[in-house]
């Protein structure tokens, strides 16, 4: 009995102590990695895994095999048990329902489905060697890429496009916004293994990025090597390698936001949310410039140039998914114009690299670097 009373006494003291604690901005307590309780982003990890299988499927064309569009579509919607990893088939998650689908002339779920069908169709020609006007595979050394008639690698358009339309879109437009982490969202009821609603939503934004919770600058290269830094987590390397300390900047914001939420410091939360979106956007911008540089370095090599450009334009159009984007619509339109042509009789332009000039690439890069304050480092990205 005495023991119980002691425990109750201590518990009461504890309750009073903790409830009377001031909400200090005690930065000594902020962890140096994303080390918090009740972090769960399994749904996001599942979706990253799903995109990986879609990509593996698409890349079959690089070795001459045709690709079945129905497989891609099934994987996209998680129907027909299409995944090799059976746990994905039964996960109850899917990519399609989380894909941007609000129109506005931006690639959306229906667009990607159209492209999957298109890709399946042209992949019949995967046994051909690419030439302008003929879908086929272009090679350079040990690299091989399947392009459409216009030199566009739709594996990249679809993979990097879905990264933007799902992962980046969900994080920047949903999970870091008031509907998910605003003051009206519950932040009291802790669900074991998942935290409060507000905490869990922030963890879901984290989960979409593609980095492990113990990521630090010093272990980043190993996280890249073991694959735990993937998708956007992999592209942190672009800014990091240029000396921008990108890895630290991104994880700082993730940590700050979760810390703010868990300690009910909503000023921290909101600062982190805005800054995280800005840092994530910067990852896209630096990566786009990186691929333009790559295309320039390999301008005479069809395979490497078109591959790099396919990546570049996918990252560029992904900038659209964040409504706070720094770059203007007009600037994006100017850049797009370098990378498209309108087939005779067609109502709309299609992506094309057949007429790209080195000057186009300079201009595209300058527009991007100017919009994102990257002029000083654009050559080394």
């Amino acid at each position: 009995m005495n023991t119980n009373k002691n425990y109750i006494f201590l518990a009461v003291i504890a309750i009073f102590t903790f409830s009377s604690c001031e909400k200090e901005n005690n930065t000594e307590e902020i962890p140096s990695t994303y080390n918090f309780e009740n972090v769960n982003y399994s749904g996001q990890s599942a979706r990253l895994d799903m995109l990986a299988e879609i990509t593996t499927e698409m890349k079959k064309a690089n070795t001459g095999s045709s690709v079945d569009a129905n497989v891609l579509l099934s994987m996209f919607a998680n129907t027909n048990s299409a995944f090799a990893n059976s746990s994905l088939n039964t996960s109850g998650k899917d990519l399609k329902s989380k894909c941007y689908n609000n129109g506005g002339g931006i690639y959306q779920a229906s667009t990607f489905e159209y492209l999957m069908n298109y890709y399946g169709g042209i992949s019949i020609g995967a046994g051909n060697t690419w030439t302008p006007g003929t879908p086929g595979v272009a090679t350079s050394g040990s690299s091989a890429y399947f392009f459409d008639a216009y030199g566009v690698e739709y594996t990249q358009i679809i993979e990097k496009g879905l990264m933007g339309a799902i992962f980046y879109y969900q994080a920047t437009e949903v999970y870091t916004r008031p509907s998910k982490i605003g003051d009206a969202v519950d932040n009291d009821l802790i669900v074991a293994g998942e935290g409060t609603d507000m905490e869990h939503h922030w963890d879901e934004a984290f989960g979409y990025f593609g980095i492990p919770t113990d990521l630090s600058v010093s272990n980043y290269s190993d996280k890249l090597a073991n694959g735990s830094a993937r998708y956007h987590g992999k592209y942190l390397a672009v800014g990091q390698d240029a000396g921008l300390n990108t890895v630290q900047k991104v994880i700082d914001q993730f940590i700050k936001g979760r810390y703010g939420i868990s300690n009910k410091d909503y000023t921290l939360r909101d600062e982190a949310a805005a800054q995280l979106r800005a840092e994530w956007e910067m990852v896209l911008a630096t990566t786009a410039i990186h691929y333009i540089n790559s295309a320039q370095s390999n301008f005479g090599d069809d395979a490497l140039r078109n591959h790099a450009l396919s990546e570049a334009i996918a990252f560029i159009f992904s900038l659209n998914y964040n409504s706070d984007k720094l770059i203007s619509n007009a600037a994006i339109a100017t850049i797009n114009a370098f990378f498209q042509e309108t087939p005779p009789g067609a109502p709309n332009p299609v992506p094309s690299f057949l007429n790209v000039t080195n000057q186009n690439l300079n201009e595209a890069r300058n527009i991007l670097s100017s919009a994102y304050g990257l002029d000083a480092v654009k050559d080394i990205l």
Binding site: S218, S221, D222, Q240, D241, A242, G243, N358, G373, V377
Partner: protein
């Protein structure tokens, strides 16, 4: 010995020598001693020297402020060049404290934005630590201020005499370099050396991985591309872009690239600034019997460094002129560097069980 045993032994031997990532761990090599040499004998002294030269540079700027004349401009330029040379020894170790302080960006982002520098001076209002000032600070900004667009000493002296804001900017730039280099040196001198030495594995957070990755990155991106390739025209269809040279205004880029290659070789071989050759990556490669086509990898690398220096020595003018008048010579340097990069990135890294993880062309 019968045929079967021989085949078995050969098979075993082939297996052993074709193993990559696990081999370095099986070899009896003292990684702690290696990292100790790197931290205390190689890297720390470089930062100590960088701090010393940056301090002297700032002092020379103060001296110039006191008396704006040719003699003091010459002294200032001498200290500037000395600092630029020492910087070459620090550029390849941009991890740890230097990485956190983005030291490379602050010290050596080029080409500079001349208009931004002039606007800063005219407005007399700027925050040099702000991200958008990166191309208006550091050694390249000093290069522009001290050598000007046409290297006319009287014009340069007039600029400083007529605008106290220009002198203030000069002092702010040198002060920033002094502070940044002091901070990074202090961190290495107090806690980071131990952190570096203690992370003596080849996996998570290992210093070996950091060292090799940053060395490779600096060599590929900043030396091969930044100092040679981009000015030569490798990104511009062969059209030279001379104004993208390091030390474009002082026309000292050839001196700097030679120094950078020399210091990189010393870093690779664990050699101190005084020339004492301690434990380095070359010794590690020898310990794991790293070879390429039957030749010792360390020998191939050493020969390739020599080949690069030879190709640099063959250039008789500064790079500003050589790129225009003798581009094939500069192209030769580029190609020799490219071969070394292959040895580093492919052979050295895999033999030491370290993955090169920075972005290359293919980010797939």
């Amino acid at each position: 010995m019968n045929y079967k045993s021989l085949v078995l032994i050969l098979a075993l031997f082939v297996t052993l020598i074709s193993c990559d990532k696990t081999e370095p761990n099986k070899v009896d090599f003292d990684r702690t001693a290696l990292l100790n040499n790197y931290a205390n004998k190689v890297i720390l002294p470089r930062y100590e020297l960088l701090q010393a030269k940056s301090t002297a540079l700032h002092d020379a700027a103060l001296n110039f402020e006191a008396n704006i004349n040719q003699a003091n401009l010459d002294l200032l330029r001498a200290d500037f060049q000395a600092t630029y040379l020492v910087w070459q020894a620090c550029s390849s170790v941009e991890f740890g404290p230097a990485g956190m302080e983005t030291l490379k960006l602050v010290f050596n982002t080029y080409p500079v934005d001349r208009n931004k520098i002039l606007t800063n001076i005219a407005s007399a209002s700027y925050n040099l630590d702000a991200a958008q000032q990166i191309d208006a600070i550091g050694l390249p900004a000093l290069d522009y201020l001290l050598y000007g667009t046409n290297n006319n000493d009287q014009e340069i002296l007039n600029t400083f005499t007529n605008q106290s804001a220009a002198i203030n900017y000069l002092l702010d730039l040198t002060s920033q370099l002094k502070n940044k280099s002091s901070s990074v040196y202090a961190q290495w001198n107090t806690t980071y050396s131990n952190t570096f030495i203690n992370a003596n594995g080849t996996d998570v957070g290992s210093s070996l991985s950091l060292l090799i990755n940053e060395m490779n990155l600096d060599f590929e991106k900043f030396i091969r591309d930044g100092k040679i390739g981009i000015p030569l025209g490798k990104r511009s269809l062969g059209n030279p872009q001379v104004d993208k040279l390091e030390a474009y205004y002082s026309r000292e880029s050839l001196v700097l690239v030679k120094e950078s290659v020399q210091r990189l070789e010393e870093l690779y071989s664990g050699t101190s600034l005084e020339g004492v050759n301690g434990l380095g990556l070359d010794d590690y490669l020898d310990a794991v019997n790293a070879s390429n086509n039957g030749q010792d990898l360390s020998l191939l690398i050493s020969n390739q460094f020599a080949a690069i220096q030879l190709s640099l020595d063959a250039i008789n003018s500064n790079l500003n002129d050589a790129i225009i008048n003798n581009p094939s010579q500069v192209d030769d340097v580029y190609n020799k560097m490219q071969q070394l990069i292959v040895y580093f990135k492919v052979d050295l890294a895999s033999n030491l069980g370290v993955l090169i993880s920075y972005q290359d062309n293919d980010g797939d």
